[in-house]
Symmetry: C2
Subunit: 296 residues, 2 copies
C-alpha cells in the first residue's frame, strides 16, 4: 500500500491555503519525499505524518520554492535524535547549492546528510520500489520521477493446491521457479501470476513534454504541474510551466489512470476553472489540495 500525501501544492508563492511544493510517498514504513518547499517540516506536523520516517528526499530542481525546506527539516530531525543517514538527490550540477542549504546548520546536526547528483535513469532501487528520474522541460535543469512499486508474484490458491504445493514448497518454488512434485514438473508460472506494482509519476516544474508523456505511460497516478489555465498559455510558455489543459493532454496521451493537477498558481482562489479545463480532455482529474491523501 502506497500512501501519497500532498504536503504543499502551491506554485511559486505560497498562499494561506497552499504551502510550497512537497509530496510524501509512504511505503512499508518509509517516507520518500519529493521536493521540500519552505515550511514542509510544519506540514508534516499539520497532517500527522512522522518526519522521522523520511528515508530520502528527491528534488526536481534547485529553485527555492522546491528546496528551501531541507535546511530546517534536516535540523529538526537532528533535534529529534535522528541517527540514520539521509540521502538527498538533486540534479547533477546543483549539488553545491543544495549542499550549502543542507549543511546550513551543520554544527547542530548529528547524522550524515549526503547530497547525491542524479541523471536520467534509476536513482534508487530496493526490494520495495524503483525510483527513476527523467528530464523535464523547465527554465533550469529539472527532473521528474517515476516511482514504481516492485512487481509481485501472487499464488493462485486453487492451482497451487491442485499441483500439490504446500508449506515450505511455496518459498522453494519462488526461488527455483520450477518444482518436481509426484514426478510432475510444476513451473511457477502455472500456479501464480505477476501482479504489476503501482506506478506513480511526479512531473513538476515543466512545459508539457514528450519525456513526461513517455514516462507516464500507463501510470496509476500522474501528478503533473498545472500552474495556469489555457487562458494564460503565454505565461506558461514564457515561464516554462504547463496549463491544466496541457497536463490533461499528457495524461490522456500517456494512458494514465488518474491525474492530479499540482503546483497551482496563487491567482486561482477557486480551482474549478483548472479542473473543468482538464476534465474536458481527461475525465479522471482532481486538483491537489494541501493534505490530500491518496492510497494506491
Amino acid at each position: 500500500m502506497m500512501k501519497i500525501t500532498f504536503l504543499g501544492t502551491a506554485g511559486a508563492t505560497p498562499t494561506k491555503k497552499r504551502a510550497l511544493p512537497s509530496v510524501a510517498i509512504e511505503y512499508k514504513g518509509r517516507i520518500y519525499l519529493f521536493d521540500c518547499g519552505e515550511g514542509t517540516q510544519r506540514q508534516f506536523l499539520k497532517y500527522g505524518l512522522n518526519m522521522s520516517k523520511i528515508c530520502c528526499i528527491f528534488l526536481t530542481h534547485a529553485h527555492a520554492d522546491h528546496v528551501i525546506g531541507i535546511a530546517g527539516l534536516i535540523r529538526t530531525l537532528s533535534i529529534n535524535k535522528r541517527t540514520d543517514a539521509l540521502s538527498i538527490y538533486a540534479p547533477e550540477g546543483e549539488e553545491a547549492k543544495i549542499r550549502n542549504l543542507a549543511h546550513f546548520d551543520d554544527s547542530v546536526v548529528n547524522y550524515e546528510v549526503i547530497v547525491k547528483p542524479i541523471k536520467t535513469g534509476i536513482v534508487l532501487k530496493n526490494n520495495d520500489l524503483e525510483i527513476r528520474a527523467f528530464k523535464l522541460n523547465h527554465s533550469v535543469l529539472t527532473y521528474g520521477y517515476v516511482i514504481k512499486e516492485a512487481d509481485k508474484i501472487r499464488f493462485i490458491k486453487e492451482k497451487a493446491a491442485a499441483a500439490g504445493i504446500k508449506g515450505v514448497m511455496f518459498k522453494e518454488i519462488l526461488k527455483k521457479k520450477i518444482l518436481q512434485i509426484n514426478k510432475k514438473r510444476v513451473p511457477l508460472g502455472n500456479i501464480s501470476f505477476l501482479e504489476t506494482g503501482k506506478k506513480v509519476v511526479y512531473a513538476t516544474d515543466t512545459r508539457p513534454c514528450k519525456s513526461a508523456e513517455k514516462n507516464a505511460a500507463n501510470a496509476d497516478l500522474l501528478i503533473h504541474e498545472a500552474t495556469y489555465t489555457d487562458a494564460l498559455k503565454t505565461f506558461a510558455k514564457d515561464r516554462k510551466h504547463s496549463t491544466a489543459g496541457e497536463a490533461a493532454a499528457i495524461a490522456k496521451n500517456a494512458n494514465a489512470k488518474r491525474l492530479i493537477l499540482f503546483h497551482i498558481s496563487a491567482r486561482y482562489k477557486d480551482t474549478k476553472v483548472l479542473l473543468e479545463e482538464a476534465q474536458k480532455i481527461f475525465k479522471n482529474t482532481e486538483v491537489a489540495n494541501d493534505g490530500l491523501e491518496i492510497v494506491l
Copy 2:
C-alpha cells in the same frame, strides 16, 4: 503608533501552533522585520500583513530557525514586483552564509538585496526610529536590538497661545528654538515638552545577560526569549537559552514596563507554567502566541 506582530514564536523547532521566530514592527507604513524563520512569508499572509512594506530585515544570528525564511521571502517579493532595494542586517562574519541564502534564486530576483554586517551600536537611524544592536550570550555571535521611536516635541496649546504663537510660527520656533514676539523672547522649551519615543527591545537567543538588562532599561516592551522553565535550567545553560524566570528577572532589573516571553520550546503545549514562573518575578508578563499584536 508602533504595531508589533508576532509572526512566529517557536523555539528551535516549529509546532502546529507556533511558526519559527519572526517579529514585524510596523511604523509609519514601513515594516521592520526581526528574524525571518522558515515560513515567515506565509505568516504574513495568515495575519494579513503586507510583506511589500518590509523595508529591512534584522537578523539576530545565523541559526537556520531564525533566518531560512529570507530566501523564499526575497523571491516572493520579486514575483510581487518589488523594485526597492532590501537591506538585511546580520552579525559581522556571517555575511557569506546569509548572502548564499539571500541570493539563492538570484536569477528570478529583480531588485537589489544588500546584506550588511552589524556590530554593537546604531544599525539604522531615520526620522522615525533608531535601531541599535547589542551583544547577547548565545552559542554563536548573536545580537539583540533596541528599537527606539524618535522623541517628539509637543506644543502646549495654552502656553503657545498665551505667548502669541500661531500659524507658521510653530514651524519657525521648531527650527530656531527661540522666537522674539512683541519684544518678548519665547524659548521653545517654554511652550512645549519632549515626548519620549517608545522603546522596544528584542532579545533572542540568549542566556540572561547584563547586556540585555542594560539595553532593556525602562523599555516599554521587552521581548525576551524564554525557551524553558527553571526546571530545565541545566538545558538552558547548556544550550545557551533562558528560562521564563530568568527572562522575568531581566525585565525586573531593567525596570521594563511589559515583558513578552518568546521563543518557546515545542515541549510546552500549555504555556501556563512559563507564565506563572515569570509572573512571580515580573507581574506584567505575557507569553507570545503567533498572531499576537501589540500597539504602542
